[in-house]
């Protein structure tokens, strides 16, 4: 860009995006009303309850879980959950021997279709830079102590592949329905920065 940038005072962020939006509508690139619709979908319709439904199904149906781990994109499609930009979904299973956690070091790639929009800290320089070099220390900041005999694997998302963690099923939930299980599953457990607490029976 040239010297013209400096002929006007720095424009407010709201003015800049409004200028772009109105030009894009005029050029026929964006339908009027589409911006409102997209914001509504991302802010109100997508979210971690979708991921929780997937987790509860996997815990309840071993054949589905097998398909989910082998081909995340395909298994999600069975549930009517599809990629927005055609990105592939990989599901990472947490076990007593392996704890998985996701990040996008380069920007903020996140499994939108199952978790909605990311929390602010997921996009922060601190999380993006540190989770790959000192994952145990960062997880400890989230209050999660991973025992030394459990391997920690950090998955760096990108434009083509998005990850979601399948947390371990809490003990004390034998015989629970999918709806009951779904209610236990938190967003952070599907990012991998927390685990689900066992249910105390009694």
């Amino acid at each position: 860009m040239g010297h013209d940038d400096h002929t006007l005072p720095p424009s407010s962020l709201a003015l800049r995006i409004k200028a772009i939006e109105t030009l894009m509508v005029e050029k026929g690139k964006i339908d009027p009303g589409a911006v409102t619709e997209i914001v509504d979908i991302f802010q109100n319709k997508l979210g971690p309850r979708i991921g929780a439904r997937v987790v509860a199904r996997a815990w309840s149906d071993s054949a589905f879980k097998k398909r989910l781990l082998a081909d995340g994109t395909g298994a999600l499609k069975e549930m009517g959950i599809g990629g927005l930009q055609g990105e592939a979904m990989h599901i990472l299973e947490n076990t007593s021997a392996v704890h998985n956690v996701i990040v996008c070091t380069l920007c903020s790639c996140y499994p939108w279709t199952v978790l909605g929009l990311p929390p602010s800290w997921y996009k922060s320089a601190a999380y993006r830079s540190r989770i790959v070099i000192e994952p145990r220390a960062v997880l400890a900041e989230f209050g999660l102590q991973i025992s030394e005999d459990c391997e920690v694997r950090v998955y760096d998302s990108n434009a083509e592949i998005r990850y979601m963690v399948l947390p371990e099923r809490p003990t004390g939930t034998d015989g629970w329905t999918e709806e009951q299980l779904e209610a236990l599953v938190t967003r952070d457990s599907m990012i991998g920065v927390s685990v689900l607490t066992d249910v105390v029976v009694g």
């Binding site: 424009s11 003015l15 772009i20 964006i30 800290w121 601190a126 434009a159």
Partner: protein, 107 residues
């Protein structure tokens, strides 16, 4: 060249601010910037690799002192103008028109 956007493994950013747990847009301009980006991608004005590359070219100091969605806004301006979807002149004219109408007062 290693871009500042390639943050993985860099030390010195301090603890993760867990209190900042919100997933909602903090302002209307952030929501609009997000949506216009998604819609521009869908319209084929640029692809996701070009979008990321554009953000990775942001100078390091600017990258670290501007917010997340400012990077997205920067990338929109960069790509839509360089690809000729609209011109720099059209853009500046439109900003001036909107400013005159007071459309950005809420920002």
């Amino acid at each position: 060249m290693r871009s500042i956007a390639d943050l993985g493994g860099i030390q010195g950013f301090g603890p993760v601010d867990l209190a900042d747990d919100d997933t909602r847009f903090k302002a209307e301009w952030e929501a609009d910037t997000f949506a216009v980006n998604i819609l521009s991608l869908a319209a084929g004005c640029f692809n996701i690799d070009e979008s990321r590359h554009s953000m990775e070219k942001i100078p390091a100091v600017e990258y670290l002192t501007t917010t997340y969605f400012e990077h997205w806004l920067h990338s929109l301006e960069d790509l839509l103008i360089s690809k000729g979807v609209f011109s720099q002149e059209e853009y500046q004219t439109r900003i001036a028109e909107l400013a005159a109408k007071g459309a950005g007062d809420a920002a």
